[in-house]
């Protein structure tokens, strides 16, 4: 895991963490998903990005 918050790979695979070969890279097609939001309404990635690009924050959760 790279500890640099700006560790971003715009065009190369240089920053791919070891042991994490399947983290989507720039240019990859991300796996589709549908998840419920807090109102139990489905949020479908493929449908959303057909409207406009999406920024997804993966966070550790609430505790």
């Amino acid at each position: 895991m790279n500890d640099d918050p700006l560790s971003i790979d715009p065009t190369t695979d240089d920053d791919q963490p070891s042991g994490r070969p399947n983290i989507p890279r720039v240019g990859d097609v991300a796996p589709d998903f549908q998840l419920p939001n807090t109102s139990q309404q489905p949020w479908h990635l493929n449908e959303r990005v057909e409207i406009r690009p999406a920024i997804l924050l993966f966070y550790r959760g609430h505790w």
């Binding site: 715009p10 998903f33 924050l57 959760g61």
Partner: protein, 133 residues
Amino acid sequence: MADFRDHFDAIGAAGFDLAAISVDPTRAAALLQAELYLPFDLLCDTDRSVIRSWDLLNEHEHGGIPIPAVVTIGHGRAVLGRSLDSMTRQVSPQDLLAALESTDSGPPPRRFLMPRLFEFLRLNRRVRRAGEG
């Protein structure tokens, strides 16, 4: 999360949707959403299937939680940019917006927007480091 809340309108004005993903059940996510007044969707991957398929599952903490990351997805689910972050440090919305504002006005081709952003961030980091040295 609060940082992104504070810049939610600007992110939207820049043409981006925003959502956050955790393994929290909907009740816990709703509590967080209410506590922090988060205006964007919190998505609940309680069975960890999405985080696992994206290879972002840290199985060693709390039964499996996401590796903190910010990923931008465009048309056709193309990955436009990504930032793999540490527990305590994350790419800031301020940096994202600064880079967005540095782009030409008007909608650029979206597949080029985030790589330009990340190039900007990388250059900005180098400049800051050079200044510190």
